[in-house]
């Protein structure tokens, strides 16, 4: 298939982003780890600390140690820096630890709405943020996930001072006006249509999350509800900005070719004067009660072929069970020899595409299988094949060769994260902000290496069970309808 076809096919399935600004693609495996505060204990008020552990060896391949410099300012701002010198390019990211999981009922979509407004100008500079990046050949953008809002610039290294100035400026001086708010509201609605409402299978994933959760804020995607975005007020958004866009809720990440000393000075100079926030940046978040029985949801939509999704609740990223589950996910999902693809697409030929993916995040998320049936085949045939496949994983431990394959897949992804400054910055930011440990880029590989076949089997038995599953079938129909065999108690 042509490259364009492949890309558009995934868009049609609602499996990826057309232009990569909004939500992390569902099939991009990311390696994360447990919430630890080990490194915080070492830090003084303004300390430059170097984390060093030996490189990790996987079989014959060595993953070199990444030298990480960190910094914490008195106002609570963190910085994580990795210098690498292959090309005169850097990526700067500012991670705000606020995502759709922090949104209150009636105020969904605020984190993402604010992300848009962050490009609309400051009281000091006007609407010129991107001009200063683009003018030197750089590119900039942002995205919002359930857990964080991330702003990034990749550019020639010489532009580092300007980028840090600009990021500090919009952390403090954002010009929130009614006019910008009204304009971005329209833009966000177009984004919703483009990502979810218009592609043939675009509403599947939002519907799935709504059905798989009852009280967790993961119930809604970062795009939020039409109603909440419609009713968002300037005051409400400003309140959100004042609460979360403070140095003590932000981490600056820099990767690429630059001087760590100079960067440290610039960060102190530009971000240092910004006062720490005074409000809580981690209000209590409703905990999803365990699911106890299978949920079956049927939706109709104007699609060419039927499809289905099975979703299983999985634990939070970085918890002990997350490591064997990641390996199980690789065995099920990675490549054309992945068990799900192999069974549904190759052996039984009931599906034209089948993907599975573990969407690990700060709070417990979902592992899911998504398949579009080939003409003439019903979702039930695919569901039976998935059940058989999961049974195999539960009945028998992986062979040593299978286990090694899963570990090699993980290592490749880890190595890939170091191929350019943007990938590396993404990894460092996620580890630092969501998992609270920037050293994970060095320490996490060994956690994967030590997983045994028995642990993978035990994890599969624990999580891949019917009572823990939400099944969503999509059938061709003239109108959009959703019916479920269960009640959340909240509708």
């Amino acid at each position: 298939m042509s490259p364009d076809f492949k890309a558009r096919f995934l868009v049609a399935l609602g499996m990826t982003r057309p232009d990569g600004v909004f939500r992390q693609p569902l099939n991009r495996g990311r390696l994360h780890s447990r919430f630890t505060r080990i490194f915080r204990g070492f830090m003084g008020t303004v300390a430059l600390l170097i984390l060093f552990v030996p490189g990790t060896v996987f079989g014959a391949v060595k993953l070199p140690t990444v030298k990480i410099d960190t910094l914490e300012l008195p106002n609570g701002l963190h910085a994580v820096m990795v210098k690498r010198g292959e090309a005169p390019v850097i990526t700067v990211e500012v991670w705000y630890h606020v995502g759709s999981r922090d949104e209150q009922p009636g105020k969904t979509g605020y984190a993402h709405f604010l992300e848009h407004l962050m490009f609309d100008g400051t009281t000091t500079l006007g609407r010129h943020f991107s001009d200063y990046i683009v003018r030197v050949g750089g590119i900039d953008n942002a995205y919002t996930t359930t857990d964080a809002t991330v702003y990034w610039e990749t550019m020639p290294s010489s532009n580092l001072p300007a980028a840090l100035w600009l990021e500090a400026d919009r952390m403090r001086n954002l010009d929130l006006s009614q006019k910008n708010l009204d304009n971005e509201r329209e833009v966000v609605e177009e984004e919703r249509k483009r990502r979810y409402d218009n592609p043939p299978y675009g509403t599947v994933i939002p519907t799935l999350y709504e059905q798989a959760y009852t009280v967790s804020p993961y119930r809604h995607l970062p795009i939020g509800s039409v109603k909440d975005v419609d009713q968002a007020t300037l005051e409400g958004i400003k309140d959100f900005y004042d609460t979360y866009y403070v140095p003590n809720n932000a981490t600056v990440v820099i990767a690429g070719d630059f001087s760590v000393d100079q960067a440290g000075q610039l960060i102190r100079k530009y971000f240092g004067p910004i006062p720490a926030g005074t409000r809580s940046v981690s209000p209590p978040i409703p905990v999803e009660p365990p699911q106890t029985s299978e949920r079956v949801v049927r939706m109709t939509r104007e699609v060419a072929l039927p499809a289905f999704v099975e979703a299983y609740h999985i634990p939070a990223d970085g918890t002990p069970d997350s490591y064997p589950l990641r390996l199980a996910s690789e065995i099920l999902s990675a490549g054309d020899s992945g068990m799900i693809y192999h069974q549904l697409v190759y052996e039984k030929q009931v599906a034209l595409e089948a993907q599975s993916s573990a969407d690990f995040s700060e709070d417990p998320n979902l592992f899911f299988v998504f398949a579009v049936m080939t003409a003439g085949h019903a979702p039930s045939e695919g569901e039976a094949a998935v059940e058989q496949t999961l049974k195999r994983l539960k009945d028998k431990p992986l062979s040593p060769k299978e286990l090694q394959k899963a570990k090699n897949q993980i290592l490749f992804e880890l190595a890939q994260d170091r191929e350019n400054s943007k990938n590396l910055a993404e990894q460092l930011g996620y580890d630092s902000v969501v998992l609270k440990d920037p050293a994970l880029v060095n320490t996490e590989p060994s956690r994967f290496l030590s997983v045994t076949a028995e642990q993978v089997q035990a994890a599969a038995r624990k999580y891949f069970v019917r009572g823990n599953m939400t099944l969503l079938e999509v059938h061709p129909g003239q109108t959009d309808q959703v019916t479920a065999n269960w009640h959340t108690g909240t509708h």
Partner: protein
Amino acid sequence: MRLKAQTWKRAVLGLIAGLGTCLVSPPLSAREFPPTVPPPEAISFHMPAVHQLSNGLRIVVIERHDVPIVRLYAIVQVGAEADPPGLPGTANLVAGLLPEGTQRRSAYQIAQAIDQAGGSIDTGAGWDESYANVSVLSDHKDLAFDLIADLLIHPAFAPDEFERIRKQSLSALEVVNQDPGYVADVVLRRFLFQGTAYAHSEDGTRQSIARLTRKDLVSFHAQYYVPSRTVLAVVGDITEPESLNLATRFLGDWKNGPTPPAPPPVEPRPLHGREVVVINKPDAVQTEIRVANLGIARSSPDYFALTVANQVLGGPAANRLFDVLRTEHGLVYGASSDLDCYSSLGAWVAKTSTRSAETIKATQMVLDEITRLRNRPIRPWELQNARDYLVGHEALQFESPSQVANQVLEMMLYHLPADYWNQFPQEVRSLTAPDVLAITRKYLSPEDDVIVLVGNVSAFRNGLKKLGAVRVIPIADVGRAFPEPQKGTADRPAPGR
């Protein structure tokens, strides 16, 4: 008013940028501006040595040893433009079947081998090239060369694998033919490039995929997949001598067949008047909009000036379409324009999407911007910003070894000179606003263009007249062969339609 105010500020910024470091302090309070940085420096690019095996296969090696990955990128100089008449989709089906079994390995054996190595295989075809990419952890180098050679030289096109892929392709076409973005691009191409080898659907149609035989695939492969048409880029944690040894060992015996007859030269048919095509999808909530003119071949000397013009109109950074449609009017999420350049022709396409009811308004705004670019020279700061972006952006295009490899492959595919990227900054910086205006007038014309709208026509039918004579086609007809604009495109309608 707002537009003016902003334009004025941009002009100031552009001025400051233009003066660069020569200007010690900017005219306004320094507190309000980010620190001045020097204008971007051009990077110096060293074209890697091109090695050639005795069978004509060319090889370039880009070493980098800090990440334990080896990537092989092979391109074969044949793409969808060579699809036989009546059989669109051939090049893509041939490439798609490479990993689905060789004379030595079944599809599953190939998948198991590459997945065991932590790697991946990707094959496909563009318009001018087919490709096979193999990536592995660096302790599996031999396997990578072994696999890529096996895929390129000995694909089996086994009947059962072919039938499986045929069935999947037919189902996948059903899915993408419901996707407004995909449909817009396919239909645009059909009208814009009518009468050339670039007008058909590169993924084929229901009829062509159903009609293709194993013999068609075997013969396409035998004709074009030869070492003299192939370039291999080896990237990453591997040395040059090691790469050449492995390439010789696994690809050295690959034989050239008889040279295929040269394809007839492709001459784009100039557009006379406007063609408006509306694909009706009654359940759409948003309309995909494309406005296109013919562009240029990749090797055209007009490439630099047109790139600057496109940068201002809708290029990959700040641009007029985005400013007007999104920033000023909140009509769209994204708006851009692309220069799609192939070996013998090209397209200049503005693209966006908007809520159904605003379709005509948004389309008209795109047309207005095209007219503005054609009628008046771009402003000095726009020229400066576009030039600086393009020169500075080079560093980003060569950041990773894979990017370097892909730039080199592009240069070889389109016969660009070895010093191309070193000349690029100078070429771009020497352009003036009148140069850009002249080139815009040469290629961009709102009178002679193709407009494609994919959406719910009942929401904007009333305004359509303003755009010109319109042809409305139900979306269900796109996957079939709907009536052709002209005779002579590759996928003619099936008899009876």
